[in-house]
Amino acid sequence: MLFDMLRDPAVLVLCAITLAGCSGLPGLLLRHGPLGQRLASAAALLSSLIALPSLVYLLFWRQTSSFTLNWNLPFGPCEIALDPLSAFFLIPIFLVFPAGALYALGYWPAVERRASERSVTFFYGLLACAMALVVVARNGALFLIAWEVMAVSGYFLLVAEHAEEEVRGAGTVYLVASHLGAGALMVLFSTLFFSTGAFQFPAAGSLQVTAGLSTLIFCAALGGFGSKAGLMPLHIWLPSAHANAPSHVSALLSGVMLKVGIYGLLRVISFFPHPPLWWGALLTAAGLTSALMGICIASAQKDIKRLLAYSSIENLGIICTGIGVYLLAAASGNRLLAYLGLAAALFHVLNHAIFKPLLFFSAGSVIHAAGTRELDRMGGLAKRMPRTAFLSLCGAVAICGLPPFNGFASEMLLYLGFFSEAQAGAPYLALGAPVLALVGGVAVISFVKLYGIAFLGAPRTDGSARSHEAPFSMLAPMGLLALLALAGGLFPQLFLALVNPALAALAGPGADAVALPVAPAWFAVAGGSLLVLSAALFLFLKGRAKAVPAGAGPTWGCGYIRPAASMQYSGSSFGALFGSLASTLVRSRISAGKVAGVAPAATKLSYAPEETVLQRIVLPTISIIGVGFAFVRRLQHGEVHVYILYIFATLLLLMLWVH
């Protein structure tokens, strides 16, 4: 009986989810030593070993299994189901979760981080479990519970180092934002309840409601899921949260949790038989805006993790654009475009879940080694940590969408969508292509900056000069992810095989039976020959260099006699040129000391990119509201006779109202 059940892959997946949730429990009980953390990592690996094959099996055979859990909360039956869409979104979870757990062994070791390790390990497992539950839940209340557990675990992970003011601030903003998002979701599920009479999710394409209601549902979903996915301008919590969390947590937050927002959006859209055209237009516009703004702001960052966080906004923008394109195409009956848009979005979901954790891991290793998050204080790390540097290079190239890595494959699909629309009657959608190209260009700026400033050149501080290579437990997950990134770029059909079932689940059966305009083999040809050609040239040049007389010396300083490491181009100066061009989008605060006199004293110039939406809009609004509130708060002035006046006035008013 039990054995039979365990042969069902869906049951196995559920077991894996439970295992993930419990992974931190032994650590809570075992008070000291690294055993708890090791057990947790082992459990994470095991859960992923159970889950991933099962998920691939489920996707491959396009199976849907549903279960009804036994609960007695007054929200109707607690249904959970694993359809291809859920299975698809579970893959990133079970990919990044064990990778991060493994990484944590070296990055957040129990021995050194005694104060926070146990809670971090526990909530890390709980976060993965909650995210998985969100994805499989088919009951609005269960969904919300899992959603909030996810958000709160994220919070506790985020404030692991709460002794620091910045971490606390980031945590508060995150918590408030996710709570507001959950409020929007409450509206969403309540409205769904109003429409269907139950908390269970309606079957795909079965929700028939009036236009007003569907607008409300869509807007609530966009508010709730969009803020989780970090769409501009709902992204305010994201940069500081991802920057201040421990890096393996940032990897999970950025690589997976944001995708859960995308999942929610897709799930809600799937309820509607005919999503209106404007949803697609709105999502496309929002996606492109997020992508462009996100990457422009990223290029100005000087905190390595904040840069990665803004790049997450960019990538989520690209995903959202894909969804928007799909909706536009579905509303206008263009099957090829629908396929390309949705496939690009889903493919990019996978891709981003591969290279973003890779980059966060490498950022973690860098921070671990150099002891700072500021790019301008790093430099020269490639010499001291060559393996990390190599893997980070793979990540950086992949995230810029350059061949031969996976980012290129998914962006290619989106480009094809845009270009194919150029031939249609109203080719406005094709205008997305230049925007995407601009985004790609700025991404190159950002990641050349990140990689070049952090890893290359000479060390700018003692900390980065004393850095050391990361241990195997940190390198192994990175290596795996880099390999996957390359595989996705060379053989996109492998990833598309996972994408297609989910796509069919969303867009209806047969939607994936579209012939791709470009044969996937071309990716392998192009990428492969690129790799071979590069390697050949590299070896050739190396050979030539060996054959000719060679010398070594300091970098040519253009005649300057005493070059110093601090004279190198810094990250801030690298981004400043583009920043000056995009100054309307990217604001930064530059504070400089005075320079006066013949022999001016030493002074400092500091440069801080601003969180424009947060600091220019949200915080001022809150403080204006605060002033208004302070005005009302005078009502409670301590004079008891006036308090009695309130009672009397209430009595009179109510009497007048009633009569």
Binding site: Q636, G638, V640, H641, V642, L645, F648
Partner: protein
Amino acid sequence: MNSLADQFLVLCLLLNFAVLGTSRLNFSVRSVALQGVLLGVLPALVHPFSWHLAFIVVSIVLVKGALIPFLIIRAIKRAEIEREFQPFIGYIPSLVLGALFTTLAFIFAAKLPLAPEHSGLLVVPASLATLMCGFLVLMGRRKAISQVLGYLLMENGIFLFGLLLADAMPVMVEAGALLDLLVGIFVMGIVINHISREFSSIDTSRLSALREE
């Protein structure tokens, strides 16, 4: 008989104004006490005699007319205050507002029908007016003692209404009213003692440390 009761009620209303219009605490206390005594006697006028009634009348007259005034005047003496200075609502405005509220009470009472056996009585308007004057004192005075007096006025108003129910209701409600009065005033008295010990004054405007900045 009913006309006599009505005259008593009018007297009660006038006493309200006496309390509203004076700054001397002793006078206020006596006015409230007198009102209490009048109220105590009223049931005897409206309802036929019974031992139950007699008990109520006597106990009310004792409590409202003697015990409470005694307690309060003792508190006044101990705290050495005689007058209410700088009331929150001045005396003239208090009187005007009192008149306004009394009118309101009459208008309001006209909308509420009485049972046939009570028709023609001024009980409801008098009760509402006394209640509102009590509120007015509570809202307009700063001294804790004045506020207790305001509370007493309110209680008088409520008790006045209770008269309508005196023969119909079980003894419990009246006992409740009495209990409330007694215990309420008693506890307030204790607290006032503590206040005067703590602040060496019973000016409640000093009692405004607890507030939102």
